[in-house]
């Protein structure tokens, strides 16, 4: 997912850059017909195309709802509380393959709860906001150690606000 | 004609809200005290002064260029009566009550004399500031951990806060909307060079 996002972005950025380069390479005064051809139609096609593409990608990316919270009997519920500058996690050993719902709270300022895998890839995250409990669900597929980082700047030891959870096979 | 009618209406309203029963009735609730009685006093002062604007202004123009003096006076009076302590005082202390019935109409009058003179820039800033301040006031009323006025119930304070928030948003929409239907005479200039250019310093 991470690499796909990066790759797609870079390709699209290069596409925009290519359009610039194409246009700029022809910015010199041409022969008699100085002006560009009528481009109103092209602009309209681009506009409609952008709308259709956007609608399709948007709908596709929102189904299933990417912030869905798992509920049910077999859901493992974990309470996470952030404070300057540590996490309190009420259950640090989590079974593999079961949907886990993190209930994230904070006692002071805003924090950001994020789970990183052994390869330091961010898997799932959510903000911790004073006065609220944010919920986010994730199903771990492999056993092992997972690191918890703080993703929302919360003061001068923000980067030290780390912890670990253990995902174990049942 | 309408100005004359408004003048008499204002005098009538001023007398009415000053009369004991109406005064006490409006002061029974924080909401009617702050959002009916006080604005009514200001509005009456405004309307009464507006009718005699020219007579009052004559010979005194030089003391209120751009409406600065009058505006300052009005803002000071409003600030004073925005203090919860003053509101409490006006209910419990006859001297405060008297001061309220004198200063607020005068503030309204001074605003009526000054407002037309204010530069449009000042009016714009005042309007923006008003909306901003009302949002802050609404927050203060609704989130204050204790009652701000000993003389009033907490519920009324909450209600006041909510009404002020609605008023702030309403006023914001009104001010914003009025930008879109202004009928100011269009000044057409041939030259694009700005008039009143500051030039090179």
């Amino acid at each position: 997912m991470h690499q796909t996002v990066l790759f797609t972005s870079l390709v699209l950025m290069m596409a925009v850059a290519a359009i610039f380069l194409f246009s700029l390479s022809r910015s010199g005064a041409g022969d008699g017909s100085k002006k560009a051809p009528k481009l109103g139609a092209l602009r309209f096609v681009l506009f409609i195309g952008a709308l259709v593409l956007g609608a399709a990608v948007s709908i596709g990316s929102l189904r299933p709802w990417p912030r869905a919270v798992a509920a049910g009997a077999d859901v493992v519920s974990v309470k996470v509380t952030g404070s300057q500058w540590s996490w309190e996690i009420d259950r640090k050993t989590i079974p593999v393959g079961k949907p886990v719902t993190f209930n994230i709270a904070t006692t002071d300022v805003s924090h950001g709860f994020a789970v990183y895998d052994a390869g330091d890839q961010l898997l799932v995250q959510s903000q911790a906001m004073p006065g609220y409990i944010n919920r986010v669900s994730y199903t771990f597929r492999t056993a092992g150690k997972y690191r918890i980082f703080c993703m929302e700047y919360c003061g001068v030891a923000h980067h030290d606000m780390t912890d670990e959870i253990l995902v174990v096979a049942q | 004609m309408t100005e004359r009618l408004a003048f008499y209406a204002a005098v009538l309203i001023l007398v009415t809200v000053s009369s004991s029963p109406v005064r006490l009735l409006l002061e029974q609730s924080l909401v009617s005290h702050l959002l009916i009685q006080m604005p009514a006093l200001v509005l009456c002062g405004w309307t009464i002064a507006r009718r005699h604007r020219d007579a009052i202004n004559r010979g005194r123009e030089s003391f209120n260029v751009g409406g600065a003096t009058g505006l300052s006076f009005a803002l000071i009076v409003f600030s004073f009566w925005m203090l919860p302590r003053s509101v409490d005082g006006s209910v419990q202390n006859p001297l405060y009550e008297f001061a309220k019935f004198v200063t607020l109409p005068f503030a309204g009058a001074s605003l009526a004399l000054s407002w037309p003179k204010l530069p449009p820039l000042a009016i714009g800033i005042l309007k923006c500031n008003l909306v901003s301040m009302m949002l802050v006031l609404s927050w203060i009323y609704t989130t204050s951990p204790s009652r701000l006025c000993n003389s009033y119930l907490r519920d009324e304070q909450d209600m006041l806060g909510q009404i002020v928030a609605v008023l702030a948003i309403g006023l914001g929409c009104l001010f914003g909307g009025s930008l879109f239907c202004g009928t100011t005479t269009i000044v057409r200039r041939k030259s694009a060079t700005p008039i009143g250019s500051g030039g090179r310093e």
Binding site: - | V65, F73, I76, S79, F80, L83, D88, R147, L148, N150
Partner: protein, 200 residues
């Protein structure tokens, strides 16, 4: 222009002075804070009104001369703030006992219609009031109640559903019978420190 500048400055200077005065130097925006600042600066004498406690005995403020007292105002049917006052008084009672400070607690009911001796005793029982420290009482009549409320600047408003709204606070009365400090109901620590300050 110069006249306007002069007039505006005059108005602003006068206005600033008035606002400074009206907020006790930008410290008090509410009547309650203003009152507290005033009391701290110059303690006020309290009228020696006669009160009646749950068992019909008479209590006067002058009985406490030489001892500091914390006074609060309650009505026993109060579902919210007086319960909290009661809890804070309970906490103060423990600290007074533990510390051995020569200080007392006095809860005064302003609900003359409903709070008789029985209700007062019941409130004392519920909150665990130890009569050697914490007494409950009510004024004998409405006139004396008014006198008392005025002295403490407590405003009692009927809430329209049978109860009252009132400014709840801990009033510290010094050994000389003067009101020397008013604290928020959860500032029992500050109130206790005020009690101890009278010892030396």
């Amino acid at each position: 222009m110069r006249r306007t500048l002069f007039a505006t400055c005059l108005v602003l200077a006068f206005g600033a002075a008035v606002l400074w005065w009206a907020t006790s130097g930008l410290r008090a925006f509410t009547a309650e804070t203003a009152r507290r600042i005033a009391v701290l600066a110059s303690p006020e004498p309290i009228p020696d009104v006669e009160l009646v406690d749950g068992s019909g005995r008479s209590i006067r403020l002058s009985d406490y001369t030489g001892q500091a007292v914390i006074v609060d105002f309650i009505y026993t049917q109060c579902p919210t703030i007086c319960v909290s006052l009661g809890d804070n008084f309970g906490r103060l009672q423990e600290r007074i006992k533990a510390d051995g400070v020569p200080a007392k607690l006095l809860s005064i009911s302003f609900d003359l219609a409903q709070d008789g001796p029985r209700e007062l005793s019941e409130y004392a029982r519920v909150h665990g009031a130890d009569a050697s420290i914490w007494k409950l009482a009510r004024p004998r009549n409405a006139g004396e109640l008014r006198l008392l409320l005025e002295a403490y600047a407590v405003i009692v408003l009927p809430d329209g559903i049978g109860g009252f709204v009132h400014n709840a606070a801990l009033h510290v009365v010094g050994p000389d019978g003067k009101l020397t400090g008013i604290y928020d109901l959860d500032q029992h620590n500050a109130a206790f420190l005020a009690l101890r300050s009278f010892i030396k």
